[in-house]
Symmetry: C2
Subunit: 573 residues, 2 copies
């Protein structure tokens, strides 16, 4: 276990033992607790005082299935809050196998120079000048890196948006096939990477220097049990491999909670054309892959490869939130356009959700028309170029709303909501309002409760409690590297026990079941503490006004969870 | 005494008695206390719940000299705080003479239609459709109104920027010569007027229906004494008529506190070319007016008429803050360009300070070069057109900084500082940080203390106290309609006593000298209370980081007043 600490001001790279206070932490737990300790709350997110921390989950690199999420943390230039954004692919497992607990990037170059941080198979890290890569989009960047340093290299990099310090910039990670199609999309961490002058983190995946597993036999047994539950689970074992996350288009529309036409409606006419079922049919007909392994250790294979009518790769993986942001919100019911949008966002290095929602707001303001497919892709080119209007889109939904004097901006703390309207799925509204990271689709997504009929999405009662429980659970899960799809099975007692056993077997600990929510609460508390230092108050934990005032068809409901209930989500007795 | 209440949703106009709780209030006292009572803190400043209140000072319309300021109040779409912005000209006196305590504009039109509110010589108000005036700049708007309704009409109106809801939009008032060159510039209240669909407030100045003065003889005597002190005062009686407020260019530069080149320096080389002395010389040579009566009741005549080399009117009045914002901040040392900038800002209806500072930030970011005269005026045309880059400028300094990724933005709560660098005049820094209205040049300007050697501008000690006293005094003065220039003599005991006597004689009261600071404190408390409801905390009462970190030449000092001292400014024992 070691930290690699990189100072971009003086270009020094140091290895250090993990300080005692951070021992046992991984993923979001490590990034959030460390940022809360070491980053001044009021600092400029793009200045030298901010840290950009790459931390694989605490179980990443072990043989446990679906533990390939890497957390990237920093003070966000987009929301102004603390932010953790996580991505799949193979880099978490690669770093974990090298025994690297975190890569911590500090300082800021005096000159506007670009570097790579390259970690070799022995875990040695060095900074390499990368000014030749300036302005390069991510697919070309990765291809060039592979040509220069070896085809097997794993990469996490920024595109032109990150270099231009745009608040909606993502950090893109390569999938197991070496394409930069996995995104740490939210919170504008690509802009922090750009401000640090770091174009890419490159990891040689062939090394192995991880700490031994304390009890290998117990670990193996727990891992098998966990994998068995996943395989037997209807959602994780059958629906996800067949349709991917796009499977959600149909049920969320049927519940009337699919925010479309800039969240002016809850059901999209023509949703069938952009559903997971439609997507699977198109991909099958054209010879693409309806199911695909995107991340190391994955046994769910929710990923896909979307191809054009010549069978040529367009993008991987086309996901629910992207289909919503660039399809539902904009009124575009054409999956080919949506797939190209997804590819371009990955290539330019921007979050699909904040980009799509920003464009939807512009359409809603009359700048372009809803349903205009060409406009959608043209706007992305403007962002890449950094034209005047492109910079506005690059700043995200609130900036677009202000630019066009349109206050119908479905965002919290600047960040767009995800594909669940708070008026039609009220628990998701609670999460959007109260998550320490702004509106977020993974911070405590209540959709599973609705789809399994555990909770009425329109009831007032029980929403805040459901959100709170899920925020705690996801904060804990995000420490381990486990992906959201696999985490959905943790409610199954067999899976929960197996997961806890795996943790104990890995670290030689003897945690009881309470340790998991306790970890989640510890993380959330650190995040809230940071936000308080950054100036956030209860008043920031609210949804935009229109969710309280404009009824959403077809149920004609508004968001009506009281401020006291929202404020209680983060009170801990 | 009456209120005219205008509802823009249903186009109703009603007269009402002044409710008891607002009796005796005028100007800023009335706008701020009423907004705090009646406007929800978290409302959308451009939505129907915001009120736009026009309130002449409590002494406006009386024979007391220099009482012609009208306060305009609302929740600001620019700072998000409560805002009072006041303007000179003749409208305050005209409304006061009609016995109109306030015009309160509420609601918001369903359709995007424009109206005039016209008040006739009997004080009757009616809404008139004004869609033909859409897009009209203010000079043309006023000329057309005078043609349509009579040459004597007094007007307060918005230009294209206000119609476009731009956060730096001003409301322009006609001076005694009928030109819309007096601005309620700060806080973007022009955008609130635009959102209300109100193109202009038109007042017939020939009416008279004010309440009688309770003790006319005492009033007359007090008024004479007050006028005598003004005439005898060196600054108000001699410097202001000779050079106007531009007289400050020389001393503020010599103290090293003239923020120039986007506040990167404290002394501008070539300041002599844009000084009050240089301006007076140019105007004299060309046959303009170095001194001029801009406002009703004025005996100071700090105004001027700047003309071109053919003797043709360019603008009135060229003021210190405008010369600084469009000259010092941009490195442009040409008064002709600055005068054209001033005219264009008045004509488009934008605040000269926020416009100039935004352009300076763009220049500092490399978008144009410092000193580029053509670029300065071109940018204004972009704002008027509402082009993409124009909209960015129209949103003010922070938006420009974000657009160009430049965090060297001399603004507090979004609003640009005024022409006194907080590192070279620390008390002004305290006012910028802690005023409930964002950085502001009239909210508690400490410059007089420095010019009269009462306080060392670089000392740490005494700055917070000086700012506090002046914030209280100005909050009280802003209730009465007295202008800032006349208020500077209030420290003279003879003037202070005469002013108090005039108030008592007007209202038949028997206030002691404490009543004035008590009024100021009451107003500030109401403003702070509103801001708290709007979500503001002590963390918002800070200057931008660079003022604390980047030493300002020539004294190489930073702003070093502690947070505890800032927080104590608004604590009242």
């Amino acid at each position: 276990m070691k930290f690699i600490r990189v100072n971009m001001t003086d270009k020094s790279v140091q290895n250090e033992e993990v300080p005692e206070k951070y021992l046992g932490l991984g993923g979001r737990g490590l990034t959030s607790i460390m940022i809360n300790h070491e980053v001044p709350g009021t600092c400029d997110p793009l200045g030298p005082e901010n840290l950009l921390i790459f931390a694989p989950g605490s179980l990443s690199g072990t043989p446990l299935v679906n533990t390939s999420r890497i957390s990237v943390g920093a003070k966000s230039p987009f929301t102004g809050t603390i932010k953790e954004s996580n991505a799949g692919g193979s880099i978490a497992a690669d770093l974990g196998r090298l025994g690297i607990t975190a890569v911590i990037v500090e300082g800021k170059p005096e000159e506007n120079d670009l570097s790579f941080l390259k970690i070799d198979a022995k875990g040695h890290a060095q900074l390499i000048a990368a000014n030749d890569y300036r302005g390069m989009r991510t697919y070309e960047c990765v291809a060039s890196i592979k040509k220069e340093y070896g085809q097997n290299q794993t990469v996490m990099c920024i595109g032109p948006a990150g270099e231009q310090l745009m608040p909606i910039a993502s950090i893109q990670a390569t999938d197991v096939d070496g394409r930069p199609c996995r995104a740490a999309g939210r919170g504008g961490l690509g802009a922090v990477m750009g401000a640090k002058g770091l174009k890419a983190l490159i990891v040689d995946p062939s090394g192995k220097d991880a700490d031994a597993i304390a009890d290998p036999d117990a670990f193996k047994e727990a891992g098998k049990a966990f994998a068995r539950v996943i395989k037997a689970d209807h959602m994780a074992g059958q629906v996800m491999p067949a349709f991917g996350t796009a499977a959600l288009v149909a049920p969320v529309n049927s519940l009337g909670a699919f925010p479309c036409f800039n969240a002016r409606k809850g059901v999209m006419e023509g949703w069938e054309k952009i559903s997971g079922e439609a997507m699977a049919e198109i991909i099958k007909k054209r010879g693409g892959k309806t199911t695909h392994m995107g991340c190391s250790q994955c046994i769910i294979h929710c990923s896909n490869e979307y191809v054009d009518d010549q069978g040529k790769y367009i993008t991987s993986s086309l996901e629910y939130e992207t289909i919503w942001a660039s399809g539902g919100m904009t009124g575009i019911d054409d999956l080919d356009t949506i797939a190209r949008f997804d590819f371009m966002c990955d290539d330019i290095g921007i979050d699909t959700m904040n980009a799509g929602v920003g464009i939807a707001i512009a359409m809603d303001s009359g700048y372009r028309s809803f349903g205009d497919k060409e406009a959608l892709l043209e706007m992305l080119e403007e962002i890449a170029k950094g034209s005047e209007i492109g910079k506005v889109f690059g700043r995200g939904p609130e900036a677009v709303g202000r630019h066009f004097n349109n206050d119908h901006v479905p965002a919290v703390k600047g960040q767009s909501i995800a594909a669940y309207d708070p008026r039609g799925m009220k628990g998701n509204g609670v999460t959007f309002a109260t998550s320490p990271m702004g509106a977020d689709h993974t911070a405590g997504n209540v959709v599973g409760e609705y789809l399994t009929n555990k909770l009425d999405p329109l009831a007032k009662k029980g929403q805040a409690a459901a959100s709170k429980n899920l925020q705690v659970a996801m904060a804990a899960v995000d420490c381990t590297g486990l992906c959201f799809m696999a985490a959905t099975v943790l409610e199954n007692p067999e899976a929960g026990i197996a997961f806890l056993k795996a943790i104990n077997a890995k670290f030689g600990t003897d945690f009881g079941p309470d340790a998991i929510p306790e970890m989640g609460i510890r993380v959330l508390k650190a995040e809230r503490e940071f936000n308080k230092k950054a100036g956030f108050t209860a008043k920031d934990d609210r949804l935009p006004r229109f969710f309280y005032e404009e009824p959403l068809s077809p149920h004609n409901t508004v968001f009506d969870i009281g401020d006291d209930e929202l404020d209680a989500v983060h009170s801990w007795s």
